[in-house]
Symmetry: C2
Subunit: 243 residues, 2 copies
């Protein structure tokens, strides 16, 4: 069963105070880049994997999607998502994301924002997504970047020139990484870049776009507290077509 | 014109003392991994890009290649390569690797070991390689890994747990990096992972294999001086098919 930290009451309350929970997609600085990778949404049947509070599900309908199925492990998040819409073309369902029970060849687009790096059984999920997409359907997703997830003791160090440097250790050791976030111990799954690409290929996806995302200079100027983040990519964004 | 540090007499002399210069392919710890990516060599027409002392060119002929053209920027390296063989099916030529003059659709395999990360005009080289390969021909290459080439002041730091950590800075700033190596100031070109993949795709290559290489535990045990190197990948190895 997928980790379900989002149903921890204290973690959930803290998560609800994040800009991306309060402001939705506009509070997520990587959203414009991820949006640019989407295939045409009007008329599409959309699967929102790790839908959380449903911000993308609602956006997709506003953008003309025919229907949206949002799946998530967290009952609390799904309750929030359901409370935020009365749209009959949006359906939400709780699912074990390691082996979700999804309709076959039923979607044109599978979207996932910052969820896949929590999934230990990624191969099972990607196989399920491939089955649930029509031939030619697209998977568009963001995950934490391998450089970001690699370290056993993540943090900024100081290099020989006195500049902040992100300390990379055990990059090639794929597997769980426990980090403190929002007052909780959160377990993420580190995968190498080649590990992500091999998993996509094995599930029958052909990579069409890959972006290593960091805040833009304008975003950094607006958020001085992110100053180091421009040095290394925080997120890996990708688009892949089901063969 | 491509940087030609290999024709600097002092650098060249130091390079000739490296294990991979003395022992050839067997002195290059990444060779078994790169060899495993090669398509069948018997009968193949082979282009060796940045052939250096010609160790791979000679290996390819021993493995049954029909012919080999080795190209390099360095007259000194080519002289060494020519002196090491009398095989009439091996030809060596000096070339500006940013815009090499190559025969069209004349090769089944283009191979390059640790040369492409010196090339500022990579797009021009990849376009030339694509033209020089037959449809379905393969490019198999090793380059320094983006995590390795990124830092402005490369070096091992110490993380919060007291462990050696590779300090990554300015990863997203693609371009030249000057490092001290073998007593010389060597300029390499840093590219992000997505930058390498996009350059291949733009030149018409379809990626078929990607490996982030670091020494194996056995290799690390045999080379205690590499002890930190197992933490992060030193090299990026890839195979790509000309579409």
């Amino acid at each position: 069963m997928t980790q379900n930290i989002y149903d921890d009451p204290d973690f959930h309350a803290a998560y609800l105070r994040l800009p991306r929970s309060v402001e939705g997609l506009e509070g997520a600085p990587e959203w414009p880049s991820l949006r640019a990778m989407l295939p045409p949404v009007p008329g599409a049947r959309v699967l929102d994997v790790g839908c959380g509070l449903g911000w993308f599900s609602r956006w997709a309908r506003q953008a003309g999607a025919a229907s949206v199925l949002g799946v998530d492990v967290s009952a609390r998040m799904l309750a929030g998502a359901r409370a935020a819409t009365a749209d009959p073309a949006i359906t939400y369902a709780q699912a074990d994301l390691e082996q979700p029970d999804l309709p076959v060849a039923a979607f044109d687009l599978a979207y996932s924002s910052l969820a896949l790096h929590y999934i230990a059984g990624l191969d099972g999920l990607l196989a399920a997504l491939a089955r649930s997409l029509v031939a030619g359907g697209m998977l568009v997703a963001s995950v934490e970047h391998p450089i970001w997830t690699a370290p056993a003791a993540p943090g900024w160090l100081t290099d020989a020139a006195g500049q902040p440097a992100w300390g990379v250790t055990c990059y090639l050791d794929e597997g769980p990484r426990a980090v403190d976030w929002l007052g909780a111990r959160v377990v993420k799954q580190h995968r190498t870049m080649s590990g992500w690409l091999a998993a996509l290929a094995q599930a029958g996806f052909n990579l069409t776009r890959l972006e290593e995302w960091a805040p833009s200079p304008a975003q950094l100027a607006a958020h001085p507290e992110w100053v180091n983040a421009g040095q290394v990519p925080n997120f890996l964004l990708f688009a892949a077509r089901r063969g």
